[in-house]
Symmetry: C3
Subunit: 345 residues, 3 copies
């Protein structure tokens, strides 16, 4: 099954001690309780089950052995092995957050809208919109990404703000000393400015780190926005979606420009990936579902997403309710064809 | 497994070209993206898997062959074959929307409240309530249906509006030239007027076409209304429910007058029907779950609902956790007994 | 699999007729519709499947036979047999609601905050906080429980009320004649006063009896409160959670002090327990999931929870994706180790 990973981050190439490694195994920003370990999770078990053999250890090797082996191979070799084992043709990388992608992976850039705006320098309130427009990269990039879910939730006003509102909001933001963007007018402006470019626009939806309020990250909260944008020809990519991936499947069926993945979830649910991927393929047409890992920090996650997705897809089709050639076609679409078409790769 | 389909629409008896047929395979009001097809979905695969043999083709016949065969047989013959193959004793048909039901099916009428109100003619503001009362059919019908979910969502005020509020709202509506009803006072009035009749009252809940906002269609949003009506002896039928069918199962257990189905979903999730039907049978008592297809436009959907529901039910009971005679009793209740009892068929 | 049941209620030791027994098989406060029975449910089937043999009957014995056998053995003997068959080491019992726990079970006390407040006598508005503080047991108890979900929902203001607000709210409550507590200031005060004690604090979340509004019982609605309390070192135990247990699993991963169970659900979904337990083990780290039955009234429920949880856990691990020794460790954690650690048993 050929794979394009349409949403991930980079991987660190510095050595990691146990605490450092465990921090990447959880969305929490706190360590596990005293005496507990982030390895005791579906993700931790999946790393030991699938990644250990890539590093030359038996499946299910204990955490200590795994980390010792990882250290002795060195992070560059570990990353190379895992990225190669993933057999992913192309990674689309959110470059606005996290470490860089290892150079031996074929990666393309997705630009995080908020990161561009927050890096604007020497801007005035009246000049904010034009400065953002100019700063927003257009060449050799494949899409944009919004993390409005993290900042204010997905129940945002579906209409674009007026120029005057944007100027006023930019003025407030500048007077406050340009803090992390949480102003709904500016966040919405970034989205609408991104839409103008015509490239696919990714949205974080569903679970993530504790910086978000899950109750406000259900993708159905975007219904008004999706209705307002449905005839613009700009693909809207709903990322992650879990545990609301069935809602996302509905949106992908109802709206011609809506796509989804269950990235991040596939890695975190480990042995349960088959159930989650199967649910993501209920209402969504097969030309609307994509693969992503949402790997962040560890090359284990770039590899694991790929192996879990392939395993899940295989298990789903083994019940014989689809014909073998249909199963193959869906594998082609979901694994890479949809990404190739939507991102024009 | 004897089946009564307690909620469906009619089937067209005119020829359909590929675009026309595909339009019925999706809840979207837009065509699939360039180069994509609505056949590439669980529903499309299920049509080819299960309906092709009824038309004399091998299972999984390609879309082109299927449509050619369909055209050569002619829509009347296709409908007859599929409706007969469904082996459904009785169809309860929402006559307020869509084509008529083929005459060779045993069908009974469910009246859509909004359609009756919107067809009122020569009415005054003060006379609206009485005119609706008079226009609302009572003879030879088996229930009413509300699509308030589509119009304003299920988080409506659970109390009935006063007469004065109804008159005032009717006045506004008349002055606006009697548009599609979206006034919450009038929509609520229709529901309470329907309740007076004592027949089962169906509510659209969960997913549907993009005219609705899924975030406002979760059946638990009706909790206040269900509490306010629980001792009136009028059955409330929660239709579709997906992806909130587990919520609906809870409501069916908690409230003596609440029933549910996973119609529409069963067809759209195709090979995943077993999972969805199983979830609908978690909290809901077995005397509270019904079968429906929510078929609309294509006789394929009347057939497919029946075959997928029977297959799903069979798979659920094969794990041996119920005794065979218990499984048989539940099949009788869910397949037809509950509908027979509630609708007095 | 060693089990600690970290949340349950007592069991009646008086004889029960059929209506009395059926009332404990449903969360509804109404009888099943005419001609229907609460035995026709996953819970009813599970009682007949698993409890009948404990009373010396064949599995799946009909309800009439089961109740006759139960009556002939007498409630004390029935309770003794079922509690013993459960092989539960310790029951943590919510003593604020329902019958007492049979004496031959090793039980420990969890104190319901609202029950303590509602029993306060001779209190003044200004003295409410101190009186509650004094009345709240601290010795030989293992945790507190809040039913704020039932009273106002989980979307409560995450900040503690001020002293002045508490006094004013207590004044209102006293003037009203000390009704059932539904005042959000007082309910929040109880929670924050409970937190001061440092013992685990249980919250009802998800489904329950029809006294609650399920739409307001989704645990993600507590996100602000969980963020506000994350560094206090007080474990927050999300009980039941269904059908929002995947949300709860996320919260258990994201926040260092959040734990969950799928008690109540495990019994009510019967043959579907494997699916529900598996979903509860997706995002939640394995040191964050606990076993509970939420048994109430019938010793059948104390037994059934245990047998269904053991069966479910066994089925989950049979797919071979975890190593046998990992599966054993998770069984130890989830079955009893986590409860032992968190409640300091």
């Amino acid at each position: 099954m050929r794979l394009i990973d349409h949403h991930c981050h980079g991987a660190v190439e510095t050595p990691l001690d146990r605490a450092g490694f465990e921090a990447y195994l959880t969305e929490s920003d706190r360590a596990a309780p005293e005496g507990c370990s982030a390895f005791d999770s579906q993700l931790g078990f999946a790393v030991r089950r699938w990644c250990a053999p890539v590093l030359g250890l038996p499946a299910h090797a204990p955490p200590g052995e795994y980390l010792a082996r990882r250290a002795s191979l060195g992070p560059a070799e570990v990353n190379r092995r895992l990225i190669e084992a993933a057999r992913v043709e192309t990674f689309l990388v959110d470059t606005g957050y996290g470490p860089e992608m290892p150079i031996y992976a074929d990666s393309r850039e997705i630009v995080r809208l908020e990161a561009v705006a927050e890096a604007l320098d020497g801007v005035t309130a009246a000049g904010f919109a034009a400065a953002f427009e100019e700063a927003l990269p257009a060449e050799r990039i494949y899409g944009y990404k919004s993390v409005i879910a993290y900042r204010i939730g997905l129940d945002f006003d579906p209409e674009p703000p007026t120029k005057r509102e944007v100027t006023r909001a930019a003025g407030r933001w500048l007077r406050q000393g340009r803090p992390r963007l949480t102003d709904s007018v500016l966040l919405r402006h970034l989205i609408w400015a991104g839409l103008e470019r015509g490239l696919p626009l990714q949205f974080h939806t569903g679970f993530g780190d504790p910086d978000l309020d899950l109750a406000r990250c259900a993708p159905a909260l975007m219904t008004g926005f999706l209705a307002a944008t449905r005839d613009r020809g700009v693909p809207i990519m709903l990322l992650h979606c879990y545990p609301f991936h069935r809602q996302a499947g509905y949106l992908a069926q109802a709206f011609p420009h809506v796509y989804l993945d269950v990235g991040l979830a596939v890695n975190h649910v480990g042995a349960r990936a088959t159930a989650v991927v199967a649910e993501s393929l209920e209402l969504a047409p097969f030309h609307k579902v994509l693969y992503s890992s949402d790997a962040y920090g560890l090359a284990e996650l770039h590899y694991l997403g790929a192996v879990l997705f392939r395993e899940a897809f295989g298990a789903i089709t083994r019940d014989g309710l689809w014909s073998p050639s249909d199963a193959e076609r869906v594998a082609e679409l979901v694994g890479s064809g949809n990404a190739r078409r939507v991102y024009r790769l």
